[in-house]
Symmetry: none
Subunit: 295 residues, 2 copies
């Protein structure tokens, strides 16, 4: 109940995973009681999963402009509010699916309300939203669901995610421009990625579906951005834009993701390949590009 029995890590490893310096982790613990790690007999701190998520949320809040002390407060308070549950309410995924399939808009919204207020966004996305989207896609391809159901579900989920995206260019963190590759229309994954990235303290400029490469490139300049993320679910979308992207990749930090992104493609485009898993991808970018070289 207290601990899911996962592996405990020492402070250096936590630092590496979260991108927060060792000294700062200790400072946050001493000053705000943000963390309460166990100790080895010799006195070394040992952190669990819950600590890691706290640090992540802390980073996100600080990135969006809160002072450190307020951010810590909010993280700790937010935890009582959501209860100690780090797991999604049982049956909620099925409930959502039923509502969506029945084109039941109020029902779907109510379920999503419940979901978002019960667990942190990372979890909602990873455990419910993404699996549901995938499942809908699969069943649609198999002819079990009608296009109407697929469209309705996509539109509704996208609208909910976008309403959470409000303010994701605020704060003081680094800034990323997010765009789908030219011709690419599936942008929900990219929206999820943007939300996760914002939780890591980044600011997001969102360009969305079907963005020409030069458009993305110009968007890097005006509100000066630190990275460009291009996504596509189809490889040929990247292939077609490869040479243009390669140029951009020379001058900027370029990252590519989505089902259409490959290691070979990334090399050709002077880009960094983001992991398929959205949460991993956000963590990797947030932790700094240099960290992505070694894995």
């Amino acid at each position: 109940m207290r601990n899911p029995g996962t592996a405990l890590v020492r402070i250096g490893e936590l630092s590496r995973r979260t991108g927060v310096s060792v000294e700062l982790l200790r400072a946050w613990e001493a000053r705000y009681g943000l963390l309460r790690p166990r100790r080895t007999p010799g006195g070394f701190r040992l952190y669990g999963e819950r600590d890691e998520s706290r640090v992540r949320r802390m980073r996100g809040l600080v990135g969006s402009g809160l002072s450190a002390s307020e951010a810590a407060h909010a993280v700790l308070r937010g935890e009582d509010a959501t209860g100690a549950s780090t797991s999604v309410p049982p049956g909620i995924a099925e409930e959502l699916d039923l509502s969506l399939v029945a084109l039941d808009e109020p029902g779907a919204h109510a379920t999503l309300d419940r979901l978002f207020s019960a667990v942190p966004l990372e979890l909602s996305i990873a455990r419910v939203i993404v699996p549901e989207l995938r499942s809908i896609g699969d069943r649609w391809a198999a002819g079990v669901l009608t296009v109407a159901q697929e469209h309705f579900a996509s539109a509704l989920i996208r609208s909910r995610l976008l309403s959470l995206a409000r303010g994701w260019d605020q704060g003081r963190g680094r800034r990323a421009v997010l765009a789908c590759a030219p011709g690419e229309l599936h942008d929900i994954g990219l929206v999820c990625f943007g939300l996760l990235l914002h939780r890591h303290g980044w600011r997001v400029v969102y360009l969305g579906q079907d963005t020409p490469v030069d458009a993305a490139a110009t968007a890097l300049r005006r509100p000066r951005a630190d990275a460009l993320v291009v996504a596509s679910v189809e490889r040929r979308r990247f292939a077609r834009a490869a040479s243009a992207l390669a140029e951009v990749g020379k001058r900027t930090t370029l990252l590519i993701g989505g089902a259409g992104a490959t290691a070979a493609g990334a090399r050709r485009m002077n880009a960094v390949l983001l992991p398929q898993d959205l949460a991993d991808a956000a963590t990797q970018l947030a932790a700094g590009t240099q960290a992505t070289r070694r894995t």
Copy 2:
């Protein structure tokens, strides 16, 4: 969204979020008691969401011509002092345009906040949103705006409209299924139409971009709907789907709209042609289909 007053920010961040200088925030507090922030033990001001909204309203009122003291009074009284203004605050369209063109997400949201809280949705859409979208489209076609600016603006406006769309399938009125024609990707106009229709008491099932005809047809059945609205900005989208739509039009009330919809096309598809003007279109449909039969 979570708990009001959960996220407290210091004065610099409030300044950044509202665009009001730090000195001025303190001056407004000292002179008019506009804000009553909490304090850290060390004496730093801490502001909550309510304060932010006060500053926003203050800014709006001052911007629309009131003196600072009057504006502060009005805000504190909780009144709008602009009276029952049925006209859009002056300069707000320009403000919105500047924010969008500058890829300034917080600024654009703040402006939209002001707009939506100042006048009814019908007016916001008719006088500001639609003209702005059209203007952006024109300037983009003329090469004055980059694709990045156009994309950013569309994505942001669409997200705001969709967040207003929350709950539009609730109520007890008649129900319409809204879909873009197959291949059609411009759905913002359709979203606007859905919002207006909902204000007329209708319920809306939204299927969005690029919806196959049979998908729309099946969606008419499950939550039983009274009408199907298909939109497209290009005539050939309708042409390609004409025969399928004609079948649907025999059995149901079918309406077509958007720049691609023509009277001839409507006849061929057993459909009713909706006026180009969104407000007119919503009014016409809401007024009852029988009245529209003859157009």
